[in-house]
Subunit: 306 residues, 2 copies
Amino acid sequence: MSLLVVGSVAFDAIETPFGKTDKIIGGAGTYIAYASSFFVQPVNLVSVVGGDFPKETIAEMNRRGINTEGLQIKENEKSFFWSGKYHMDLNTRDTLVTELNVLENFDPIIPDSYQGSDFLMLGNLAPAVQHTVLKRMKQRPKFVALDTMNFWMDIAWNDLMEVLKEVDLLVLNDEEARQLSKEHSLVKAYKKISAMGPKYVIIKKGEHGALLFHQDQVFSAPALPLEEVFDPTGAGDTFAAGLMGYLASTNDISFDNLKRAVYFGSAMASFCVEKFGTERLRELTQTDIQERIAQFLELSTVKIPS
Amino acid sequence: MSLLVVGSVAFDAIETPFGKTDKIIGGAGTYIAYASSFFVQPVNLVSVVGGDFPKETIAEMNRRGINTEGLQIKENEKSFFWSGKYHMDLNTRDTLVTELNVLENFDPIIPDSYQGSDFLMLGNLAPAVQHTVLKRMKQRPKFVALDTMNFWMDIAWNDLMEVLKEVDLLVLNDEEARQLSKEHSLVKAYKKISAMGPKYVIIKKGEHGALLFHQDQVFSAPALPLEEVFDPTGAGDTFAAGLMGYLASTNDISFDNLKRAVYFGSAMASFCVEKFGTERLRELTQTDIQERIAQFLELSTVKIPS
């Protein structure tokens, strides 16, 4: 099955308690494309970069089974740039610089060859742009997932409500779920959010794992207890990528398979935080992923005779 | 196998966003005795109350298989009294009143009939008192667990270090683990705490479940996602009770059985918070517990073909 991914492809400059980077390759679309390509190929990427974006990175994406026909290159403009500094506990960060550049007027174009994609991951972007992507699909994909953030709730609430009506799965973190629902209890938050449209809701809780909700069912997945998180940038995107990549590769959207997909998402995210940026994802092997999944199962499996 | 429990038997007055109580029966020893009696009988209780403590409650304890031979009654003194008010999110609370009364000079006496108890739960009390109980056991129990709190780290650090050397399992929450270890990462916290003595460490994370550590193994158990927590008082004691009750009833201290025990602790704690004080625990049936365990398994079980 094919996966269409939309999200930023950009430059990041990151500072954590463990060090700092110059401009490195980042962006939700990049993390999602790299991580999901371990599960399904081609990954059909829709995004936009400036003339400053390295052609070598695009070539690397292609070698990894990422179709970049939908990656627009605006030769006379600059790529999106974000710079942030994480606090000591790595749970919070300050944004130092946000230069929208090519993202400011991003009009997502869906190449004909992408039409018919069965799975669609709407990575974190302006809700109106996410909605445009969905509307431009001639046939609605079998399963549509959306990621968002507090920022869009603050400045584009109505657009967000419009696109939420159309998606199957919303992936967001606990803080975002509370802001979106105005409820503290995550169970109550899920109920309010599902009334906005999404039939499935995944609430990510960072080091505490994730909750998957659907109808009156709930599933709790652990996070891997880590001694150190090196760089959390992209972990949420990578979680969504592992999840959607696994769903697309198995072509099964049952609740039981979504549970498995949450584990694959968690496993991929646990790699992402081990090094700066996309570095760890780019060196991964299928064996690494299988071993990490085994580690997650070991972490959470209990047998109780009834 | 037999379980010896030491902890306060007391009066509480509780205020939550959902209501408030007059003086009701509370205390760590009470919660632990009530909850563990579903798994093992007799539960040998060591504690102290004043003449104001209702004889009817002691009679109820006896009917429930709790041996109160080690419950001292100081007829001319008053029972320990604690009053607290929870904040809106129920994660934090203010202590309004603490009257130590009979606890001020509590000298725990171990009746001869309690000697030979195989499992010992040292409920939250002054570390020196916990240590005295252990020293007064003629034969060291097979498995000793200890609960503590920030308060003792603040005022009785050295006593706490002394008793920690002697216990098998320390049960504490994430905030307490960070204070005890001076580490933010719970994996690092475990390593420092295990160097203080306990071979097993359980870090409770409230609505995020619990982590069980032993050597280089770690197990993550979920909490039941609840719409509302009615009254968190005693949830930590009840967790320890379900855990130790299950261990004592199965007489198996393997890591695999400790994993199961964490589930039973979590299940018992999930009942405790549904009503004020010990009310929910006192109306429970074995069927309720079995059904709750099934619910926990449903919540966390995933099957991934390798």
